[in-house]
Symmetry: C2
Subunit: 350 residues, 2 copies
């Protein structure tokens, strides 16, 4: 087991069996505890955990649609009914939907209740649980409401990964690769050579922590983490969230690498290396959509300013372009065209 | 005009005509701007302001009932419709209900939009606008949802106070007196001797800033600001919010001074001084209520822990009791009884 303290004040525990550790028991013993999980995780792990902690278990629906203000409000009402106050510890056990949603609720419940995250997917371990972002989707787009709120602790128990599907592994690995593409060339190499290396998860987490600690409020360099997300979020929307976030961002990453090439920043050779790594992923591609829908979905991205669509771009594997501290640049629909053409080709054979 | 920088990063401008200053124009010129006000302030000031700034004006209903998640959601939908992004400047113009509500919305809109507060009541100038607390009421109680979120700037334009009713002045003055009771004996003296002293507002703001900067997250000393609020919030609830927040806290302050006396901390003589100052206030007292309702409303206070009802108490004018850093103590319903009896006597003749 490794313990890392993330600024400003989150303890991250990672390893097999961290949920069996004394650290976990001690943190929970200080509070009245509520465990929140979706229906799938309830059956797999959460009933057992809540029983052990003698905590009440509250459930949310499965899937991205649960990340709504409506679910948040239901959860809040249940917390009031259970007599929770601002010292009640909320434990979010699940994937990114659960950690984002419960994080949001904890951040606004009585102006902030203590929070522990137990990510159960590889993607949530290396991405959603790190960095304090919480999020709620609205009918206008993904994560358009949210807060920056730091959990007391994150318990990344590697044992929980045993029940992941191949597709869920792929989503997590795609996120690790994205981190490699924008910031960590060695991580990219490692991940492409041996995706089973147990050290990979920790390295990816450390890379994200480094970026977040340099720019917690996302005023500059933290924006590079949004690589793949301008197209990724738009794909999720046009697919009506039947595509998972991980799949959408994986596809968005390749498409935005293509855009980096078509705008003249990335060499054709490097793009082809990237494409070849993502090609065999066991992903479902989005159903047919109108190009105009995709463009208008992009227009609601949070990076947008003055009506422009903005992209994080790379000029080589392992390096996002700083653009004088903005870390993204505006791209016109015309400039985008060839990458959207390519994307439609790329997905069709699958 | 005075400018004060409040930690971590809020500029406070106070004086007559601060809304006519270059500082205000310059801050607004950097952003797309939305002005939010209630129906009353719309007619008095907000239409004029929005016109001058060429900003869109959004309105919320008058009164405490507007501080709901429903109003917040309506406002958020209107912001999406207006194409607002995370660089859109939200200006909240109004009393504490408006600054609390719009502050909450700004704090969660795209994980935080820039915010300017223009308090239009004396109470909002010296209390709600200072310290970064935002709040939403739920059916379970006041401010049970909220965030800590700092505005870019606060413009306390003393000209706006000209339209206040006598009752609204009283609410602000009662808050200044409360600040005096818990922390600032000189402020109490000044306020009781000459409530028209123009320096009083600035002194009250500075006293609040000092407390908030010492304890931004309300882990200790900041709790003393809740003096008068355990009973005050409960009174608002049992009166179904037909009593204003200022009136309820004024009454709560005298009642909690009585409690401080009945528990043996405050001398009878000092209590009588306090009671005599508040007695002539032009306040409406709450309609008849059941004592059990009042007690169960108190049980939902955020200061509550382990099912106890907690109170900030004073041992002399100008000094809240530290209670070893907790700054509040549990009081049993039996201990509370004589103060609740007294309160019912006190309010009946009015």
């Amino acid at each position: 087991m490794k313990k890392i303290v993330i600024s400003p004040s989150t303890e991250l525990y990672i390893g097999p069996n961290v949920l069996q550790s004394d650290d976990f028991s001690k943190l929970c013993a200080q509070h009245k505890v509520i465990v929140v999980a979706d229906e799938a995780i309830k059956d797999l792990y959460a009933v057992e955990l809540a029983t052990k902690l003698r905590a009440q278990l509250l459930t949310i629906p499965n899937g991205e649609r649960a990340k709504s203000l409506e679910t948040a409000q239901n959860l809040i009402n249940q917390l009031f009914q259970a007599g929770c106050n601002r010292d009640t510890l909320l434990i979010a056990m699940g994937g990114g939907v659960t950690t984002d949603l419960v994080g949001f609720v904890a951040s606004i419940y009585m102006r902030g209740a203590p929070l522990i995250l137990i990510p159960t997917t590889l993607l949530a371990m290396v991405d959603a649980s790190i960095g304090g972002k919480t999020g709620i989707d609205t009918s206008s787009g993904k994560n358009l409401l949210g807060t920056i709120y730091y959990p007391k602790a994150i318990f990344a128990d590697l044992n929980l990964l045993q029940t992941l599907s191949e597709q869920q592994w792929g989503c997590g690995l795609a996120e690790i690769l994205k981190m490699g593409l924008i910031h960590a060339p060695l991580l990219w190499q490692k991940a492409t050579q041996n995706s089973q290396d147990p050290d990979l998860i920790l390295q990816a987490i450390l890379a994200k922590i480094e970026i977040v600690e340099r720019d917690p409020l996302e005023l500059g360099v933290r924006r590079i983490l949004n690589f793949g997300h301008t197209i990724g979020h738009a794909l999720e929307r046009v697919a009506n969230y039947e595509l998972s976030h991980g799949e959408a961002v994986a596809m968005g990453s390749v498409a935005e690498a293509h855009l980096s090439m078509s705008l003249g920043y990335l060499s054709k050779q490097q793009f082809e290396l990237i494409e070849a790594v993502y090609r065999p992923f066991p992903f479902q591609w989005p159903p047919p959509y109108q190009r105009s829908e995709l463009l208008s979905a992009m227009a609601f991205d949070k990076k947008r300013a003055k009506g422009e669509i903005r992209f994080v771009l790379i000029d080589r594997i392992g390096h996002a372009i700083p653009f004088e501290g903005a870390y993204c640049r505006a791209v016109t629909p015309v400039e985008l065209e060839s990458s959207l053409d390519w994307m439609e080709q790329w997905k069709s054979p699958r």
